[in-house]
Subunit: 204 residues, 2 copies
DNA sequence: GCTGTACTTGAGTGGTTGTTCAATATAAGG
DNA sequence: CCTTATATTGAACAACCACTCAAGTACAGC
């Protein structure tokens, strides 16, 4: 055969993701990427095609990992609404962990990118739509087991939850302390739990 | 005296604001600004100092106009909570008007800018903090006239409202239709109105 | 109509951008 | 040990970036 690759593709992608998440698409230069990936331009282009392609792959990885964490949280709680509330409370700790950015990378991309980066913008939009679907699905499930009033609309609740998450994470990007973010997440979680039909799943 | 200025400063600033709001700081080049302002680089630099300076002035103008519209809405309604709810409902029409972007320019800047554009980032943060103060102030007023339960915390409510607005406007930047945004804004407005103490201001 | 002054111009600055590709390095197979 | 196949390199490229400044232009007062 031939020469062995010295760089692990997934590892390189993870490093690129961290950079893009932190600085955004435009502010991340190829020189930045060369340093972070410890690769020369030729290798980067041979592996990922273009800066835009690398960015789009980063978006996909980000969404995949984010969704996995979401599912992990859900499965640790006994009911859909409890899981969703726990997810919100978990986001309250955004300022405690060390992350490239407190804001969602998909939202950052949605707001930063325009017509000239249409493909990447569409990718971010599609991934957000997938997340919305997952939210809606959980409200649907809550309704099916009688945890949620049947007169409420899971679609509207799902979108509201997505807007809440977007708002919480954008707010967490401000110059505020951890306790403030925790309090905000707690308030959102309480609003969500207030939807629960009393006495059906748990008692009050 | 000397030669008269052919460009109105406020008008130029407004054009720059529209561009920056639409494309963000990094994606807006000086060539774009030259075309939009119909000014040559020398004039732009003589008038505004630098791209960064022009951007910061745009941020200030954006916040000033946004705050004025907010106050206008508030003053058209009989009580603080009614005014805030109307403000949210007004944002539901984000996709009906033709705007440079549906998302808030301050939030876009907060998410796009980093350490290298520290001054502009701080400006966005300060302006957002001012908006938060104004929200808190309205909840305070609602409490003083007995429209809001005295056990609730105006500071937390103000931050929650800011996160709601951030989320609503970020969501409106997605590829969704106008009715969806209206519905989301309506749900947020209803949540806010649910805080009203029954029978104190209006009847149910 | 001349002069002084301030505004405007646009070619030019040095640096950076994303991208390419011929040359080189490194492995396995024969 | 030589060939073959692939991975990697890094100099070079055209285009673009934010920005400067000497020259040109238009106006008010004289």
């Amino acid at each position: 055969m031939a020469r062995a690759m010295i760089h692990n593709r997934q590892d390189s992608l993870e490093r690129a993701l961290q950079l893009f998440w932190k600085k955004g698409f435009h502010a991340t230069s190829l020189k930045d990427l060369e340093k972070a990936l410890d690769m020369r331009p030729g290798s980067i282009y041979a592996t990922f095609g273009s800066k835009d392609g690398l960015f789009q792959e980063s978006l996909e990885r980000y969404a995949r990992l984010g969704l996995a964490e979401f599912e992990r949280t859900l499965s640790a709680y006994p009911s859909p609404l409890a899981g969703l509330a726990a997810y919100l409370r978990g986001l309250g700790g955004l300022r405690d962990r060390e992350l490239p950015s407190r804001a969602c990378m998909l939202v950052k991309s949605l707001l930063e990118l325009g017509q000239r980066e249409q493909a990447a913008w569409r990718k971010a939009e599609d991934l957000l739509a997938g997340m919305e679907d997952r939210f809606i699905d959980r409200f649907d499930a809550a309704q099916k087991i009688g945890e949620l009033d049947s007169r409420l609309d899971p679609v509207r609740l799902g979108r509201r939850l997505q807007a809440d998450v977007m708002g919480l994470r954008a707010f967490a990007q401000r110059d505020v302390d951890s306790a403030t973010v925790h309090a905000l997440a707690e308030d959102m979680a309480l609003s969500l739990e207030a939807l629960r039909k009393d006495g059906v799943i748990g008692k009050r």
